[in-house]
Symmetry: C2
Subunit: 282 residues, 2 copies
Amino acid sequence: MIIDKLYEQVQKKGPLCVGLDTDLSYIPEFMKSQKNITEAVFEFNKNIIDLTKEFVAIYKPQIAYYEALGLDGLKAFKMTLDYLKQNNCLVVSDVKRSDIAATAKMYAKAFFDGEFESDFVTLNPYMGYDSLDPYFEYFEKKDKGIFVLVRTSNPGSKDIQLKQVGDEYLYQKIGQELTKIGKRFNGKYGYSRIGFVIGATHNAEAVDIRNRFSHTFFLVPGYGAQGATGKDARLLLNKDENGAIINSSRGIIAKSQNTQNQKEFDDKITELILKMKEDLNN
Amino acid sequence: MIIDKLYEQVQKKGPLCVGLDTDLSYIPEFMKSQKNITEAVFEFNKNIIDLTKEFVAIYKPQIAYYEALGLDGLKAFKMTLDYLKQNNCLVVSDVKRSDIAATAKMYAKAFFDGEFESDFVTLNPYMGYDSLDPYFEYFEKKDKGIFVLVRTSNPGSKDIQLKQVGDEYLYQKIGQELTKIGKRFNGKYGYSRIGFVIGATHNAEAVDIRNRFSHTFFLVPGYGAQGATGKDARLLLNKDENGAIINSSRGIIAKSQNTQNQKEFDDKITELILKMKEDLNN
């Protein structure tokens, strides 16, 4: 089951998730010269994947970067998904979709059964839990899972997620409901196919969130370029050093644009990934 | 200003919005035979637009249907946007995106300045109001606007939108905050570039929502195939018979699949659109 495969990847390689939020400006000149947009973006992603896959539990392409490049970008998105599959890498497509009924079915089809097929997608719960139902149909049939936005770490997260509902924050209530719904999708290590997106925020809250939702897998953005340290992010791991994937996008992919040739690029990415791995292991 | 243009379209043509949620099964055989997916979807949309444009304030393609068809579908999505532009039709791309910071900037670029450029997009507010900021940059520069999910009419809308926060529902609080933020983007008819998505729900609530947010433009889904009548939906119009666009997708586009030739198709669509226009005028 996909969530067990993710658990085993973390067991084997650690919790690092690499975000493929590929902006053209991140690609070094030598790598993009004489290539069209699709080729340049795919070549960069392929290089990142080749250099990091033995250290990375899962990859997270952020579809917004590809949509901003139009059809050429989306073609690179598809090629990247295909390449990850060929290399037996797990992938969560960060799409944060939200819709209901027939429309939600179409999104589920797009990302679980179409050209953009991924192991997991991220979803936004605002429209209600029935907006998630169409994805469940693919859980068994195609071995899929989802990560639902619960608590993010941007300043605006207070606007809705931290609204007081009775004696709790709204996100805590949402987490409880999703935990209930997710129980029937538990894998052999006790984690559900319904995971949460949980930003790495301040320490006391991270400890509380980990304790509250002890059998939920977390996708944790915000590590690296967005400010959270390895120590912060590690608070969202369980005692078994598992149960969360910790994403860095710009911390890896936006640091090599000034390299002059393949060797410099390879050395830079390898250095970054090893440093990050060490940071997350301590 | 785009929201004034929308007001004037409603003044001239009435509040009808046609949803281009084009599923392959909606396209009659005679229209799709000997065409590839991109051509078939675009040909259908083009026909719908040609037959309805004099009665329609704005079109709403739902991107999920195109994503489900992969790159071929997204190409048809782009061609449809281009065709709408050539015909001076307004368009709101129903994408319900949600993200923050650098990623939200990429979505804003995709739909306001890239290949998928649209007049308006729909957005999901769950991550907080800072998630909307990157779209504001395009409001003046490119004359754009947004519709933010506030109150939907699916059963699951109770899960989050109807949570009690103090003495109000969460969606009412969100509406108030967005109204405050939106004031600086008001056009000459008093409506803001920040509109709301408001499902056509039960009558008393619709009247309350219209009164509460009297200077906000509403995008109202759920009319036609999804159950709301013209009378229900009209409660969300202001006294000037304006201030809302009322969307029908399947009520128009999913009713002609059995037509046998162009004339039958044209007659069917014309009949449907005229009936709907009359229903919304009463």
